[in-house]
């Protein structure tokens, strides 16, 4: 799927997310979840550890957003609270899995170029967002470094529990935030200095274009949805 047109994939992903959002049948959602998981693990060979780590926030959100239906059931379709909770949780998981599949198989720069040239989004917006993607790992690395430094500042004999909590304080958050703002300013300046808003119309270098293969992919991918409804 990595070689497919990013905008076609994006459109299909939106269709899948719409299907999951409007669907309340747990079995259909479960089948879709299994299908997308299989795509990620078997076809795209996503490492299991990466898969689990990426799914974790969606799973957390699925649990926290659905438990209320289980403990305080309302009379939706005459279902039990647990049935509603399962449907809401699965819906979140499917949305997460579809997003993961799209993100895992799409090169952000290709998506950016497609959005600029075919969806006519402003370059400043698209490439600003791409640059921001760079910040996240850098920010995470700075936070990790700050925690290590805070751990080092503890006196010998500090309990492991306190060591683990070292660095989680609001002042460090402000320091990291200030670093991120400074970095954003430099990145914006650097992009302008490299002609981001130059008058020339941007080059069409590596702009992804849809092919017949993308059309076939879209037809098959969307046909899967009524098939699931029919079979489940």
């Amino acid at each position: 799927m990595k070689s497919l047109d990013p905008l076609t994939k994006l459109a299909v992903a939106f269709v899948y997310i719409g299907f999951a959002t409007l669907n309340e049948r747990s079995l259909e959602l479960a089948v879709l979840a299994i299908l997308v998981t299989a795509m990620l693990l078997v076809v795209e060979r996503m490492p299991l550890r990466s898969f689990a780590l990426a799914l974790l926030p969606f799973a957390f959100f699925a649990v926290t957003s659905s438990w209320i239906y289980a403990v305080a059931p309302s009379n939706v379709y005459g279902w039990t609270g647990w049935q509603v909770a399962l449907a809401v949780g699965l819906r979140t998981i499917v949305v997460g899995l579809v997003s993961m599949l799209f993100a895992y198989t799409t090169e952000p720069a290709d998506l950016g170029r497609a959005l600029v040239h075919r969806a006519l989004l402003p370059r400043r917006f698209v490439f600003g967002a791409l640059a921001a993607v760079q910040f996240l790992p850098a920010l995470a690395e700075e936070a990790r470094m700050a925690r290590m430094i805070a751990r080092a500042a503890l006196p010998a004999g500090t309990s492991r529990g306190r060591q683990a909590l070292a660095g989680f304080n609001p002042a460090l958050g402000i320091i990291l935030l200030a670093g991120a703002i400074r970095r954003a300013g430099t990145a914006a300046l650097a992009m302008e200095l490299r002609g981001l808003t130059a008058a020339a119309s941007p080059s069409d270098w590596r702009v992804p274009r849809p092919t017949r293969r993308d059309l076939a992919f879209a037809i098959v991918a969307i046909a899967v949805l009524p098939a699931i409804v029919f079979l489940a």
């Binding site: 490439f127 080092a152 304080n169 650097a190 302008e192 981001l196 941007p202 080059s203």
Partner: protein, 523 residues
């Protein structure tokens, strides 16, 4: 008729930031010719970066500041942005934040796409950029996020060179690079300039650009030019001034000036002693007590499923200064964090003799602070405000108890972090990660005094640095790292001898090479 060889002409340029009481830069007049290389130097805060941004047109078009005077790039009107148009290409000081793409080829292509070049032309330029230094060694699909700090600096330079501009403006091109990588970067700029590209280089490490720059413009602390002319002659005139206007002068110039002052030439039997004194080598070091304050034995550290340190043995004793050297990515910062307890060893032991927390001043000094004011920072370190204020004022900075540490500049934060470390009742283990990076001559001299003060108080000091001449001056021992292991650990001068002889994989530093040429045996 305009001179066709002129790329840039600036006249009476002055810059003032909003609400500032004085100009950050003033009275700058210069011309830049085809293929000419101009170095822009001066002490910290002299306005070098501001001037570079004003010349690029970023001030006033992108950075809100008032610019007076005229900046004329040939083929471009005044007050227009020269960068990104094919006229000038810029590499900023903070290359970490400069990279905007996720892969090497996208990074190189970014400016070329913006200029609307044809796809085939962009591909050809990427291929060419990756075929020669500083781009050689990268692959098109390499991820920029996985590159080391030095690697990111190399890529920023590669991308700027691929723009094939009429002029390059590079702010601290070798600041974070080890000796070898710095030489490669300088060679790449030189090769580009030979093909007709002019360059403006802002740099503290003048030894790296000494032979590259045709002319040098020295800004004084008030932002006005104090010297401007042919590089070697200008620097020679500055070398005679006490403190050398805060410049970090190249070893060759320090030695030749000292010899000239003593009325000697290189063949004189006393020349070596004069040269060593000028370079700061061979100063007697105090006796080190035999009490180990840090002992690391057989340590192994794993990160992300990868062994990043392996078989590390290191001991630092009371009153001892140990230098840690190695190429970018060798594992120096990881070892520094292991030494202070920020990281735990998967195998092996790390013993610190004191119950007190060690002091660590990281490469990014902002991370040395964990609270929102200088006063709470003092309290966190067990200092009274009077003690902390004295330390801060001692390094020439205002001691306002409510001021946030981040309200100071990068260099000032580093000085405060070190000053507070020194003020601690008795810091037993002090680890300084790249403390000399980005410091001017004054800052470097102050740092050397600080390290000596720590030594005198019996602290064990570990210093990570790329500048091997400087490291050999301040450290009793140097440990050389490669691939997460310590390759060699010995007396500073013995290690320096091995490096100069090519028996250790580091680029010989210019001061040591010069001293060896004069007959020094590193004894």
């Amino acid at each position: 008729m305009p001179d066709a060889s002129v790329v840039l002409a600036a006249e009476g340029v002055a810059v003032r930031f909003p609400r500032a009481a004085r100009d950050a830069v003033r009275d700058v007049t210069l011309t830049l010719h085809v293929g000419e290389r101009l170095a822009l130097v001066g002490p910290s805060g002299s306005g070098k970066t501001t001037l570079a941004l004003a010349l690029l047109g970023a001030i006033p078009t992108l950075v809100p500041a008032e610019r007076r005077g005229e900046v004329r790039w040939t083929g471009l009107g005044d007050r227009r942005l020269a960068a990104g148009t094919g006229i000038a290409a810029a590499v900023l000081q903070d290359t970490d934040a400069q990279l905007v793409a996720l892969t090497v080829e996208d990074e190189i292509a970014f400016a070329l796409e913006n200029r609307g070049l044809a796809a085939a032309e962009i591909d050809a330029r990427i291929e060419a950029a990756l075929a020669r230094p500083p781009g050689a060694g990268f692959h098109r699909r390499d991820r920029t996020l996985t590159l080391s700090g030095g690697g990111r600096q190399r890529l920023a330079l590669t991308a700027a060179l691929a723009e094939a501009p009429r002029a390059l403006v590079i702010d601290e091109p070798v600041a974070h690079l080890d000796g070898e990588a710095a030489s490669e970067a300088v060679a790449a700029v030189e090769a580009t300039c030979r093909a007709g590209t002019a360059a403006i280089l802002v740099e503290h490490r003048i030894d790296h650009i000494l032979h590259l720059a045709d002319r040098i413009l020295v800004l004084g602390p008030e932002g006005a030019p104090v010297a401007f002319g042919e590089t070697e002659a200008t620097l020679r005139s500055i070398a005679g001034i006490d403190g050398a206007l805060g410049l970090r002068l190249p070893p060759s110039l320090l030695v030749s000036t000292a010899l000239a002052k003593a009325g000697l030439d290189e063949r004189d039997p006393h020349a070596l002693a004069v040269a060593l004194a000028a370079l700061g080598f061979g100063r007697p070091k105090p006796t080190i007590r035999d009490t180990p304050l840090l002992t690391i034995e057989g340590a192994k550290v794993r990160r992300g499923g990868r062994t990043v340190l392996d078989g590390i043995d290191l001991t630092i004793r009371e009153g001892e200064v140990v230098g840690l050297a190695g190429r970018n990515g060798a594992g120096k910062t990881t070892l520094a964090l292991l030494a202070v307890g920020g990281l735990r060893a998967a195998v092996g032991t790390v013993r610190r003799s004191s119950q007190d927390a060690p002091v660590y001043v990281p490469q990014n000094p902002a991370l040395a602070f964990a609270t929102g004011s200088l006063q709470t920072e003092a309290m966190r370190r067990g200092l009274s405000w009077t003690e902390a204020a004295a330390a801060i004022e001692g390094c020439g900075l205002p001691a306002d108890p409510d001021r946030h540490p981040l309200a100071f500049s990068h260099g000032e934060r580093r000085r405060i972090a070190i000053a507070l470390a020194l003020a601690a009742p008795r810091p037993r283990l002090v680890v300084l990660d790249e403390p000399a990076s980005g410091l001017d001559g004054y800052g470097l001299a102050a740092l050397e005094d600080d390290i000596e003060a720590l030594r005198a108080r019996g602290s064990a000091v570990l210093v990570v640095a790329h500048d091997l001449d400087w490291l050999a001056r301040v450290a009793d021992r140097i440990a050389v790292m490669k691939g997460g292991r310590i390759l060699a650990d010995g007396h500073s001068l013995d290690i320096l001898r091995e490096i100069v002889a090519g028996r250790l994989p580091l680029k010989p530093p210019p001061g040591a090479v010069l001293a060896a040429r004069l007959g020094w045996t590193f004894a």
